[in-house]
């Protein structure tokens, strides 16, 4: 009896803790998706739009749309993460269509303090070259970079997001990587 009471108290405490941590009104699966994808979605959208404020707005918009349509998710058509990025992509493209204007590429400032001096110069040169190479890419190519390197999607998820086969997505991605590779080699 006593052990049962102790066990019950433990369960109650666990549930109470979960209740304080979990956002109210958001189901668990979506909460998990939100937590795992929040930064990635923003990075992808910001990489595509190259406008921080617009990226924030579109990120919020994408999560709102995804939450409202969370029951329309069909596991047979891809992963939950790919579905979320599909929604984010539509929102970002709508924003691009609406604005039809160029924007600056916004990236985080480099953390120079952490790198040794001899590495810092080398990395700085390399990253500057990479940044410039990315800026030279077409929006479609830049989207692939954003999906792969900023959002960390698998090739299969990228294929699902942009609506093509995995092989095709891989081929396109490889072409973009080659471009970046050549640009970085030239800079080096």
């Amino acid at each position: 009896m006593r052990s049962s009471r102790v066990r019950n108290r433990g369960v109650t405490q666990t549930l109470a803790a979960a209740a304080t941590e979990a956002p109210s009104g958001v189901d668990t699966a979506f909460e998990e998706l939100y937590r795992s994808s929040r930064d990635d979605v923003y990075a992808y959208v910001a990489g595509l739009l190259r406008d921080r404020s617009a990226a924030e707005d579109v990120t919020a918009q994408a999560f709102e749309r995804a939450y409202r349509r969370r029951r329309t998710f069909n596991p047979g058509r891809g992963s939950r993460r790919a579905w979320l990025f599909g929604i984010a992509r539509n929102a970002a493209l709508d924003e691009l269509r609406r604005r039809r204007r160029g924007a600056r590429l916004v990236t985080d400032p480099e953390d120079d303090a952490l790198a040794p001096a001899h590495e810092m110069a080398e990395v700085a040169v390399r990253r500057t070259a990479l940044r410039m190479a990315i800026a030279e890419l077409s929006p479609r190519e830049r989207e692939l970079v954003a999906l792969k390197f900023f959002a960390g999607l698998t090739n299969g998820e990228i294929a699902s997001v942009i609506g093509t086969s995995e092989t095709n997505a891989g081929t396109k991605l490889h072409r973009v990587i080659q471009k970046l590779r050549e640009a970085c080699d030239e800079a080096a």
């Binding site: 956002p23 109210s24 009104g25 958001v26 909460e31 929040r38 930064d39 923003y42 990075a43 990489g47 404020s53 617009a54 990226a55 924030e56 707005d57 990120t59 919020a60 918009q61 999560f63 709102e64 749309r65 409202r68 349509r69 029951r71 329309t72 493209l93 709508d94 691009l96 269509r97 609406r98 916004v106 990236t107 985080d108 990395v123 390399r126 990479l130 940044r131 077409s138 929006p139 479609r140 989207e143 970079v145 792969k148 390197f149 900023f150 960390g152 090739n155 609506g163 093509t164 086969s165 995995e166 092989t167 095709n168 081929t171 490889h174 990587i177 970046l180 590779r181 970085c184 080699d185």
Partner: protein
Amino acid sequence: MRLRDHDMPLDPDVERELEAVDHALQGLRVATDLEDLSDLAVDARADRPALEPDFGTKLDQWAAAGFPREGRPGIRTEGETGSALSGLFERLRSVPPRRVLLSTGAAATLVVAVTVGIAVSDQLGGPGGGAGNIAAPSATSGPAVDTVRSPSSGGASAGRAAEARPDVTQNQTFAPAARQATLDARPGLALGTPQAGRAAHRKVKQNVDLVLATEPNDVRDVADGVFGVADQYNGFVVSSNVTSGRGSTPVPLERGDTGQRTSGAGTIELRIPAAHLQDALGDLSKLAHVTSRTDGTVDITNQFDAAKTHVQDLEAERQHLLRQLADAITSTEEESIKQRLAIVENQLADAQNRFGQIQKRIRLVPVTVEIRGQEGVDSGGAWGIGDAFHDAGRVLTVIGGILLISAAVLAPLGLIGGLAWITARAVIRRRREDALE
């Protein structure tokens, strides 16, 4: 609509390099010859845009609140969020397509079914439909033809011809379904119509022959119903001859009635006031299956006017003779006038009698009701299990018809809607893709 390419295997070198990128992003070691790729992947990942801490906090709070429509974080709140229409559109988009499709389809089906149902009920309840009280023409009902005997039947319509010329005879045989409409169109009978006003001075004598068919056992009940209708409308029965039951003398079969044995019959002669004729006929028609109905109409305005004038002339002559008699001087003259007066008074009595008969003939319409007992005829008598099956079949037929018509309306609408939806999606997708060009 996404068009997917066929999955072809990647080039091994390409696959190897892509795997190296994946490994580098996961923090794993890559082959020495692909270290530049590893650096590229790590650098690109490290250079990715990061959330502002302030925005991240607001976004988390907003997510914890369940993404309410109000208070969405982000610098720009105008544009998409400002429009009520776009808000509504967004709400609609958040509903699962299957549910939207089901709801829209159900609503459209309901609307179409109700519309079709109303249309069908209008048709059933309309003039040609007989309000469901008169059975559809059967094999025994005879041809649905109008036979008009008129001296001037060529050219103008029978109605106008009858109106224009006195003493025109119309004799119309109606199939039940066409009967009411034809009656309404007949001049002088439809009250309240312009024709009725113009023909008000016309004197018409009518006669109606009605043949009702019912189950042999119901012949007596139908006959009683006929008597009741005559009584209800201040008419009377001139004569009746009713034989009921299966053992009675069979009534000769009509042409086209092969295979239908008849037994039990009756013939009832009625006089119905002309003012109530249509109502009475309507009630008579409800008593049993109307096999046929013949309406006869004769314009006797000339006869009426002639008889009336004759009476007036004779009355005038009588008055004149009475004045002469009062002024007579000699007995011979007085006797002569009296003889003449007697003759005129006799003539006047005859003329008044004749005029009265004409008036009576106009006022009271002879209606001959023939009742035929036939096996398997849907009688207007007591409602039984057979009637229930019949009615159920009819209800199912009507429902089936409504569904069929609804499907005929909805199928093309659905096809058009589906095509429009697919087209709209393709256009939107194309425009979005164009934004990347």
